[in-house]
């Protein structure tokens, strides 16, 4: 009798202790501040992660998103847009979070695999159906009468990758001659009628407004335009992707924004959110949204989807983002030099 009473008492204590943990199934909100063309990717991914996290922990996670030009988004985070995670277009923009506001540690990029880039992409050319201007490679973009659409490298991360891809090609072609390379880029930018502030703006200019013969674009954005937008109004796509002979390996990095996440008490969830990008499910979602997966098994599965391109790397060929940014895109850099002519 006494024993059973004791058992009941113990049980009730156990349940009493368990009850708060059951009741503490939390509603968590994460804010992911990202760059322009990732809207569709993160719409899919956020839904998948919420589901995963609910089954794993019982907590309900709502992921809020903000999209815009990568440089602009970095600036907003520095100014106090309290993102739990930042998923931007290039490492230099994430570096700003350390340089300007010490929101993250200096060695942030070493915290996750593949330079903190769970997926990669590259830069390709998108032309109108039938390729009426016969564009095959970067060379054709400098020809007179060809209208080229690319965003502004000062504000857009994608535009900086575009610029460096063209630069890499010109440098190879001219045997490393910098003067000739610059001339090539200057000629290319003479053919650019509009500089939008973000990659998505340029796609809209090319697709919805019908301006330009060729769009220099993120591979994922080009696929999206070709497969989904091009077919909207009946059957066949109105666009074709032209794969250039040389392009650049674009590594859009992700990071937990430590200072804000710590304040929100969301460090663990934020980290799990980024880790989930590296899992098979996360990689599948990336691949389905036309980002190149880094996980070998998923990469193999989607091998046929992505064309093989000779890709240069920012760290090997340009000495990393800090150097490239200073040389090309800071005030007085090569972009200013060629664009002011």
């Amino acid at each position: 009798m006494k024993k059973s009473l004791l058992a009941i008492a113990l049980l009730s204590i156990a349940f009493g202790a368990a009850a708060p943990t059951l009741a503490s199934a939390k509603d968590i909100t994460l804010l992911n501040v990202s760059y322009d063309p990732t809207r569709e990717l993160y719409q899919d991914f956020n839904a998948a992660f919420s589901k995963y996290w609910l089954t794993k922990t019982g907590d309900k996670v709502t992921v809020k998103a903000s999209h815009g030009g990568s440089g602009k988004q970095a600036r907003a985070i520095v100014d106090g847009l309290d993102a739990d995670v930042a998923t931007l277009a290039l490492a230099y923009d994430v570096d700003q979070l350390y340089d300007k506001a010490k929101l993250i540690p200096k060695d942030w990029q070493k915290r996750l695999a593949h330079n903190s880039s769970p997926y990669t992409s590259t830069i390709v050319l998108l032309v109108r159906k039938g390729n009426p201007k016969g564009i095959k490679d970067w060379d054709d973009l400098t020809k007179p009468g060809v209208s080229v659409i690319t965003p502004n490298p000062k504000t857009s991360g994608g535009a900086r990758w575009n610029y460096l891809a063209a630069w890499a090609y010109a440098q190879k072609k001219n045997g490393g001659d910098e003067v000739k390379t610059k001339e090539f880029i200057a000629k290319l930018f003479k053919n650019v009628p509009v500089l939008d502030t973000g990659a998505r703006g340029s796609t809209t200019t090319f697709v919805e407004r019908g301006i330009g013969d060729v769009l220099i674009a993120w591979e994922n954005e080009a696929f999206l335009a070709q497969k989904e937008l091009g077919q909207k109004d009946g059957g066949k796509s109105k666009y074709e992707i032209v794969v250039p002979s040389v392009s650049i390996l674009a590594e859009p990095p992700v990071t937990v924004v430590d200072k804000y996440a710590k304040k929100h008490g969301t460090e663990a969830v934020a980290k799990a959110y980024l880790d989930y990008l590296y899992t098979e499910e996360g990689q599948e979602i990336a691949a389905k949204n036309y980002y190149r997966p880094t996980l070998a098994s998923v990469a193999k599965k989607y091998e046929a989807q992505f064309p093989k391109i000779n890709l240069v790397k920012i760290d090997d060929d340009f000495g990393g983002w800090q150097v490239a940014q200073k040389k090309h895109f800071s005030d007085g850099g090569t972009f200013d030099q060629i664009y002011q002519k």
Partner: protein
Amino acid sequence: MSIITATDTIAKSQYSHYNNKVAISRATSEPAFVRRLLISIVLLFLGVFLIVPLLAVFTEALRHGFATYFAAISDANALAAMKLTLIAALIAVPLNVVFGVSAAWAIAKFEFKGKSILITLIDLPFAVSPVIAGLIYILIFGMQGWFGSYLFDHDIKIIFAIPGIVLATIFVTFPFVARELIPLMQAQGKDEEEAGLVLGASGWQILWRITYPNIKWGLLYGVILTNARAMGEFGAVSAVSGHIIGMTNTLPLHVEILYADHQLAAAFAVASLLALLAIVTLILKTFIEWRVAQNAIHNESI
């Protein structure tokens, strides 16, 4: 001098056979074809720059039928944007009424030093680009700004949250009520208020029984303009919004996001709400102008 007289006599002799009426109508109006040309230019201009774009908004919005239209405006993110827009307007408009009436009252009824500076300050939001207005708040309340670390330590969010959006909205709409009331109150003078004071009315009585009835229609006009601008403001709000989908997007920002998402029909559906707001505003404005004119006639007949 002599030349003028000469032409005068020529003119007189030339047109002397016309009667006076014709001469006047000749002097005040152009030949028929000129009049028609000018009128059609104006109509064409209005059509191309105002009516066609307005129609385009509604045709684009309804291109894929009413189902898509209602889906777009009842989408959770669109509803959140509407809610935020209404909140911003509901806070900004009453505050601007209080500020505007107080400022107009002080300026129109009293003489004091620095009055012209106050008037200039009230006009400042008209002169400053709205984007700058937004950036001002980032410089003050942003993490790198004056109060950034204090606000962060005390867990107060201003920019990239609702307070920032409200502040930016108040800033850009600040002049509307005051600008509407100052000339009106100045024209009315302060005789009636002084009479009330002499007869022993309290300050509140003077405000409610004398000042308020006199400025009622002008105030309403100012409120409508303030409201329209508060709901339609883009630049200032965009700078402080942070563009968090479903949280800090107002209707105009939501339109931009939908457009960038290649959801044209949805973008125009939401845009059509703003266009409707504009049309309602214009109708109300016309009605009030008509009422004011009626009042004026009524007053004169007394």
